[in-house]
Symmetry: C2
Subunit: 339 residues, 2 copies
C-alpha cells in the first residue's frame, strides 16, 4: 500500500486539508507549517494519487494522441513537437498509434475519451462523423492533416497544396515544361492536395504538360513509376514525386535504366526525409516541419482547454530545399550538407 495524504497529515500532526493546501501552494498556510509539511511529504516519498485528483478536479493533465500507422521520422518528429508543448504546461501524452481501420480508430477514441483532457487526432479514418459518434461532445479535439470540411473541430495541416505548387513553379523556372507527377493514392488527403497544387501551378503555365502516375507512397511504387517514365515516347523533362520515398524509388529505376539524373531528367520529392540529401544526386524536395505541426496542434488544444477559442492561425508552409536532382545550378554545399 502506498503512502497517501492521510499518512502525511498524521505524521505532520495536521489535517489532510492542510496538507493539500500546503502542497498545492494555496494561500492561508503558515510559512513554517508549509515547510514542515513539505519536509514530511518528501521524507515519506508522498506522491499524490493521480486518479483521485482527477476524479475531483475533472482534469487528467493528459493529452491524448490518436495516430495512424506511422513509420519512421514522421512519427517521432510529430511526437516530439507535441511533447514539447505538453511538457511546457505540465501535461502528459497518452498515445494510441497504429490504427489501420476506422473500426480501430473508433475503439481508440472511446478508450481514450475518459482519460484525457483533450485529443490530438491524425487519422485518415477520423472524419467529423466518426468523432461525433465516438466522443463525448465535451472532449476538445484538434485534427491534423485531415480532409477539410470538418467545421466543428479545429484543424491543422501542412500546406500540401502550396508546397506542391512551389515545387512545380521551381521546376518550371528551371526550364522544364513536360512534367510527370508520381501521385499518392486517391484516398489520401495529403496526396490529393499535393496533386491539386501541381495542377494549379501548371495551369499558370500555358505550354506546360502534365502526366500523372499513381503510386502509394512506397519506394517500390516509385520504382515502378520510374520504369514507366523511362519507357515513355515523349519522356518528361522533370519528375515530381508526391513523397521522397517514391522519388528515391524512381531514382533507382532511372539509374538502372541508364537515365542520368539530373542530366537527362530532373527529379524532385516531398518531405525532406534525412535520406534525401544522402543519395546521388542529392534530392531536391519540400521540407515539411512535422515537429512544428505537432507542437502547434498541441498548443491549439491547450489553448482550447484554457477557454481560448480562437481557431489556429494559419498552417505550416513547407520549405523548398534545392539540391542537385532538379537540374538547377547546384548550391554550394558539401556532400554531407551540414546545416
Amino acid at each position: 500500500m502506498s503512502v497517501t495524504i492521510k499518512d502525511v497529515a498524521r505524521e505532520a500532526n495536521v489535517s489532510v486539508a492542510t496538507v493539500s493546501r500546503a502542497l498545492n501552494g494555496h494561500a492561508n498556510v503558515t510559512h513554517a507549517l508549509r515547510g514542515r509539511i513539505r519536509e514530511v511529504a518528501t521524507r515519506l516519498r508522498y506522491m499524490p494519487h493521480g486518479a483521485a485528483r482527477s476524479l475531483i478536479t475533472r482534469r487528467t493533465q493528459t493529452l491524448g494522441a490518436i495516430l495512424p500507422d506511422l513509420y519512421g521520422e514522421f512519427f517521432s518528429e510529430l511526437m516530439r513537437g507535441m511533447d514539447v508543448a505538453a511538457r511546457e504546461h505540465n501535461l502528459h501524452l497518452l498515445v494510441s498509434s497504429s490504427h489501420g481501420s476506422a473500426e480501430e480508430t473508433a475503439d481508440a477514441l472511446r478508450a481514450l475519451s475518459g482519460r484525457v483532457d483533450g485529443l490530438l487526432v491524425m487519422s485518415p479514418h477520423a472524419d467529423a462523423a466518426l468523432l461525433a459518434q465516438n466522443l463525448p461532445p465535451a472532449v476538445p479535439t484538434v485534427l491534423m492533416n485531415t480532409r477539410a470540411g470538418d467545421g466543428d473541430y479545429h484543424t491543422l495541416a501542412i500546406d500540401n497544396h502550396g508546397g506542391a505548387r512551389t515545387m512545380v513553379r521551381h521546376l518550371l523556372a528551371c526550364g522544364h515544361r513536360r512534367i510527370a507527377m508520381i501521385a499518392g493514392p486517391e484516398s489520401n488527403f495529403d496526396a490529393e492536395e499535393r496533386l491539386r497544387g501541381v495542377r494549379d501551378a501548371l495551369s499558370d503555365q500555358a505550354d506546360g504538360e502534365l502526366v500523372v502516375l499513381r503510386g502509394d507512397f512506397s519506394e517500390k511504387s516509385g520504382y515502378m513509376a520510374g520504369l514507366e517514365i523511362q519507357r515513355m515516347a515523349r519522356r518528361p523533362q522533370a519528375v515530381f514525386a508526391a513523397n521522397d520515398m517514391m522519388a528515391l524509388g524512381c531514382l533507382f529505376a532511372l539509374n538502372v535504366a541508364g537515365v542520368s539524373v539530373p542530366r537527362d531528367i530532373a527529379l524532385a520529392g516531398f518531405d525532406d526525409i534525412p535520406m534525401a540529401r544522402f543519395v546521388t544526386p542529392p534530392l531536391t524536395t519540400m521540407r515539411v516541419n512535422i515537429a512544428e505541426l505537432g507542437e502547434r496542434a498541441a498548443r491549439t488544444l491547450i489553448g482550447t482547454l484554457a477557454g481560448d477559442d480562437t481557431p489556429p492561425r494559419g498552417i505550416g508552409a513547407p520549405e523548398l530545399i534545392i539540391r542537385e536532382s532538379c537540374g538547377s545550378p547546384p548550391s554550394r554545399r558539401t556532400a554531407a550538407d551540414p546545416r
Copy 2:
C-alpha cells in the same frame, strides 16, 4: 457534465451496482436485464470515468514510457513495439520523452509514478539509484539498454557486444586484418559494449590489429574519423563504425579523398538504418530490431504486473546484413534491396 453510471441506472430503473455488474460482464445478471442496460448505456453514450475506476481498482490500465531525446526511426520503432504489446492487453501508453538530464528524468519519473501501472525506462541517466529515489517501490519497472548491474530491476538490451563481435568476425573472414573502429562516446553504454565486442573478436585473431577512434554517433564525427583514417600511414583494411550515421560520414570523407569503398577499404556500420541500403556502395551493417526490444520490454512488464516474476529471457541479437561496402562478394540483390 458528462453522463455517469447513475444516469444509466436511473434510466434503466436499476441500481448502480447492477449497471456496473452488467457492463463489466460479471455473472449474476439476467440476460434480458444485461441487454437492456447495455442498450441504455450506448443510447446515453455512457463512458466509464477512468479516474474513478482507477481509484477503486488501483489499476490505471496504462504503461508509462520514459525515453531520452530520441530522433528518427529508433524512437518510432521502439514505440511501435511497445504499443503492439500494450494494445494486446488493452493497455495504454503514457510517454514522456526528451529527457536530456538526470534532473529531467527524475521529474518525469515522479510525475508518471502515480499514473501508471508500470514503467518502461530507457535513459542514460536512469540507474538503480535514481530510480529507487524517485519511484515508490511498488511500481514495476523494466529498464532498456541500460548499464548492467541494476540488479533489482528487469533489464532488456540489444546484444551490442555480440553484434559487434559478429561484424568483426565477418570482416576477418573477408580477409581484413588491420581494422579501425570508430567508437561512440565513452559515457555511452551501447558504445562501450560494441567496442568490447570488437576487442573480443580481435583477440581471437593473432595477426589482427585494432585502432580505435572516438566519435559521438553523429555523421559529422564519422566524417572527421574518415578523414583521419584516410591520412594514416598504415591505412586500415576495414573500418567498423559503431553506428550507421558515423559509417556514412566516414564514407563521404573517403569519397571526397578519392578512396574507394570497398575496393581500397572496407566499411561497416551498426543499426541498419533505412538509409544504409541506399548509399553507394550499400552499407554492410548489423540490423537491430528495435521494435522487438520495445515489444519484449512491454511484455516483460505486463508479465510482472500479472505476477509472473520470471526475468526476461535473453536479449535481442542483431542480424548481420551483408551488402557491398565490406568487400565480400556482393549478394544478389537489386539496388532497391526489396525485402
